[in-house]
């Protein structure tokens, strides 16, 4: 098992959980360590309970893991909730004056800090946080200079006095720990690598910029808002038009308008906003105007749990808008993939002139991951498809038919402003030249021909997307199947199972539509025991896979408590199922957040 180290910080919203988290993340990534961060929080600006876990290590870290090594509770509530999670070798750093520890497990180090004797708490309200960061880094075996550097950057704007005050407090914590607390058994290593640390929302926004998105609009909705924030902050540098719109109906239609005028256009929302966009997706499909919509899933239905993750929107995506039409649905596998998937789906949406949906979730959207900067390619291949932006002759093509019937189903698309190609694009059914056949003279032959033209694009779409592949040993005892954001945690569960002598392999679905059902059946046909793992109640993917392929797995592992899977949830459920005890496991989340 690869060695990792996890630090967890808990407290009320407004108490400053984020800042120490950012400091740790920065120090780890600059040390050449990988990391994965997950913040469990609630829909509250002040109060409640926020619990941030940052897991780091030399090798790639894909999920929050099973173990906490260092707990920093910023209030009594956080102490009471989480001390019991610590196991031998772990430590808990806390303010000795305001927080009382409960009973800790054997081998857990309690590290109380006499805050008021080390810092002037009347001047600095977050002194306990800074002291704890200093103490923690000392116990991890990290030199003080790294912290000094990060604090100097952090407080630079507030002036030299604030920098030196905070550095002083951090140093006091660092030195206090050196004298009073035992270092961790595994001093954090270092490497020469340097990583960027980013959320899935930032990754998708940057992926859009890389794809050549020129128009982005949104209505704020957790957990998708980070995309809007990055886009808005970088709009002028990236030359992207960014608009906040009155509602998601306006969002999708505005995005379609911009796309229709010829630019790449994107928007993001969550399930509730997506529900409002549904009719617009049909418009995109019928007018054959490509648009990319990101759905960052959160726990539903309705307002649901806005700050919690779920994979519960799959069927909403599959059924979005009425009628049959070609669509592409892709679920990024991790935060790095959030970046890469955007140019890919734009190329398909542009080529096949259809809506593209990115099915992300809170876990990726708001989680953070270390990514090799080389993987963030701002010059990916761009395929705009058959797009007419300049007139081909002095008067264009007088016989131009916007919806020309072709073998591929793709009809060359002229954008407004090009002389000689005027036409009307309609949401009503229309003939090849765009003239409505819905009102005056409906025509079954033409309707059938246009329906078949559009749907022929499905073949091309399928051919342009790779089939999924099986990872891990062949002929394994158990095959775990997941989709989207669960790649990392299922992968780690497989590693653990293999180490424990249960051979396990892994099939993770990235392209949901087109699904490549035959290829999946081919893989699963020879599997010995199949289990579908997903973050929802009803097994939405299992039902989809069954509807497309008739495949029925041996068992299911599902979680719908708002929190993501941890590796041991899957490992234990697999053992339970292989032992014949159950066909459906619903692991309980032990961390109370």
């Amino acid at each position: 098992m690869k060695q990792t180290f996890t630090v967890a910080i808990g407290g009320a919203a407004g108490q400053g959980v984020a800042t120490p988290g950012d400091i740790f993340a920065k120090i780890f990534s600059r040390r050449g360590l990988h990391l994965n961060a997950y913040n469990a929080y609630q829909s509250i600006i002040r109060g409640g309970h926020t619990f941030l876990t940052i897991r780091t290590g030399l090798e790639r870290v894909t999920n929050m893991g099973d173990r906490l090594d260092l707990l920093i509770p910023l209030n009594q509530d956080a102490m009471d909730r989480h001390l019991g999670l610590l196991r031998e070798g772990a430590a808990c750093i806390y303010n000795a004056e305001t927080i009382k520890p409960g009973e800790a497990a054997h081998g857990v180090a309690l590290c109380p800090i006499p805050v008021s004797s080390l810092a002037d708490i009347s001047r600095n309200k977050v002194a306990q946080n800074t002291l704890a960061v200093g103490a923690g880094l000392n116990m991890m075996g990290i030199g003080f200079q790294a912290l000094e550097e990060v604090l100097s950057e952090q407080f630079k704007k507030k002036g030299a006095a604030v920098v030196s005050e905070n550095v002083g407090i951090a140093r006091a914590g660092y030195e206090y720990a050196a004298k009073n607390f035992k270092p961790f058994a595994w001093p954090l290593p270092r490497s020469d690598n340097r990583y960027a640390v980013l959320s899935g929302n930032i990754a998708m926004a940057m992926g859009g910029a890389a794809a050549g998105v020129k128009f982005y609009c949104a209505y704020p909705m957790s957990p998708s808002t980070g995309v809007l924030h990055w886009m808005a902050a970088h709009a002028r540098k990236a030359n992207i038009m960014v608009r906040q719109v009155e509602d998601e109906i306006g969002v999708v239609n505005m995005a379609i308008g911009a796309a229709h005028a010829g630019v790449r256009s994107m928007c993001a929302t969550s399930g509730g906003g997506f529900a409002l966009m549904s009719e617009g997706l049909g418009l995109s499909a019928m007018m054959e105007t490509p648009v990319v919509v990101i759905d960052c899933q959160r726990a539903g239905p309705s307002t649901g749990v806005p700050t919690k993750t779920e994979q519960g929107d799959l069927w909403q995506m599959l059924g979005a808008a009425f009628g049959d039409y070609p669509r592409v649905i892709a679920a990024p596998l991790d935060i790095e993939d959030c970046f890469k998937i955007i140019p890919e789906i734009f190329n398909i949406a542009d080529r096949y002139q259809c809506p593209g949906i990115v099915l992300c979730d809170l876990l990726l959207s708001e989680g953070r991951l270390s990514v090799d900067p080389k993987e963030l390619d701002f010059a990916p291949g761009v395929d705009r498809g058959e797009l007419i932006t300049t007139t081909s002759g002095p008067n264009g093509d007088t016989a131009y038919k916007r919806y020309k019937i072709t073998n591929s189903g793709i009809s060359p698309r002229a954008v407004p402003g090009v002389p000689g190609y005027t036409h009307t694009a309609a949401s009503d059914e229309h003939d090849e030249d765009g003239v409505l056949i819905s009102d005056e003279f409906t025509n079954p032959t033409k309707r059938r021909a246009m329906m078949e033209k559009r749907m022929r694009k499905v073949n091309g779409i399928e051919a342009s997307v790779p089939a999924p592949e099986l990872w891990g040993p062949r002929n394994a005892e158990v095959t775990l199947i997941g989709w989207g954001s669960t790649k990392g945690v299922i992968g780690e569960a497989c590693e653990i199972l293999n180490e424990q002598g249960i051979s396990a392999n892994h099939l993770q679905i990235r392209w949901l539509v087109p699904l490549h059902g035959d290829a999946i059946l081919n893989i699963l046909g020879s599997a010995r025991h199949t289990i579908i793992v997903e973050n929802n109640y009803s097994g939405q993917f299992a039902r989809y896979l069954r509807s497309e392929t008739s495949f029925v797995p041996n068992g299911h592992i599902r979680k719908y408590d708002g929190e993501p899977f941890m590796p041991h949830h899957i490992v234990e459920a697999v053992k339970e199922q292989l032992g014949g005890k159950s066909r459906l496991s619903v692991p309980a989340h032990e961390i109370l957040v």
Partner: protein
């Protein structure tokens, strides 16, 4: 060669004739609006390919199919949202939005208000017939109190909206009302609306001869009074525009209620567009900018 002529010849009414003839009921007010729009485009000599006519759904929303410009016949109530996207992606286009009172003030009411406060540079023509036509005669947001329709057979008990007052309150920078029965006046208002740099709202009485037997041409004719006939009327004065907008029944003002030119339109206020339309902008992020985006995260 016709192709060469297209660039040099004067555009005529026939150049703006659509691929098909309108399928509106004989006598429908929308015919007059279509003719007035075509005449305005001829008068202004705007090339067909530089115009995008965008509509929602309804009788009057079939409009883009009947005129030879680029057209988008979108969703019920969503034309203004789509049009905003079009204009921001390529602000060199002349954007006309056409639709009805149900489309604009009912299902599309949210976009109506916000498009006006954004001052999107387009002309929004509402063919206001105070009834739902394509769904065969139900009460609309502008149906008068007491009007009997299929959806309110015992008479409307909900007060109608006042589109002119709404537009003034929402910050439209050009607000006018026309009458399909007065072509010359309507054409002039359309030209003014196209020329105005900002959101131009034009409410047009466009009688429904099939379903609205209350607000007919005959009902309107003696009532409509042109604001232009009153030389003391100052269209720069918002308060007097608001006051005029409240007149109804015996005297119904038509004409230009209000115009202000001191507010930049949305695309003019957006620095991202100063280098030109998005459509023609560079799509690749320059390498040094891309590097700075990544370095922020390190």
């Amino acid at each position: 060669m016709a192709t060469v002529l297209a660039d040099t010849k004067r555009l005529a009414m026939t150049d703006f004739k659509g691929k098909v003839d309108p399928d509106w009921c004989p006598g429908c007010g929308d015919f007059g609006v279509l003719a007035a729009v075509q005449k305005a485009l001829v008068d202004l000599q705007i090339p067909n390919h530089n115009v995008v006519t965008i509509s929602g759904i309804g009788c009057s929303s079939n409009f883009p199919g009947f005129i030879n410009t680029y057209g988008m016949h979108t969703l019920h109530g969503r034309a203004l949202a789509v049009a905003t996207g079009v204009k921001l992606a390529n602000h060199e286009l002349t954007v006309l939005v056409t639709g009805g009172d149900g489309d604009g003030f009912g299902i599309g009411g949210n976009h109506f208000v916000h498009s006006m406060r954004r001052n999107v540079d387009l002309l929004y023509i509402v063919m206001d017939n105070q009834i739902y036509g394509l769904t065969t005669g139900q009460t609309s947001p502008t149906s008068r109190l007491g009007m009997k329709t299929k959806s309110m057979p015992f008479g409307n008990i909900e007060a109608p909206v006042n589109p002119i007052s709404m537009a003034l309150a929402a910050g439209a920078t050009f607000v006018a009302r026309g009458f399909s029965g007065d072509q010359k006046h309507l054409t002039d208002l359309i030209k003014q609306g196209i020329r105005h740099e900002g959101f131009s709202f034009l409410d047009v009485f466009s009688p429904c001869v099939t379903y609205n037997h209350d607000n007919t041409y005959q009902w309107f004719r003696p009532r409509v009074k042109k604001l232009e006939d009153d030389s003391s009327y100052d269209a720069a004065n918002w308060l007097s525009a608001m006051e005029k907008s409240l007149l109804w029944d015996d005297e119904i003002p038509i004409g230009r209620f209000f115009e202000r030119t001191d507010v930049p339109s949305l695309h003019a206020a957006e620095p991202v567009l100063t280098a030109g339309p998005l459509l023609r902008g560079e799509t690749r992020i320059p390498p040094d900018v891309a590097r700075s985006f990544v370095e922020e995260l390190m």
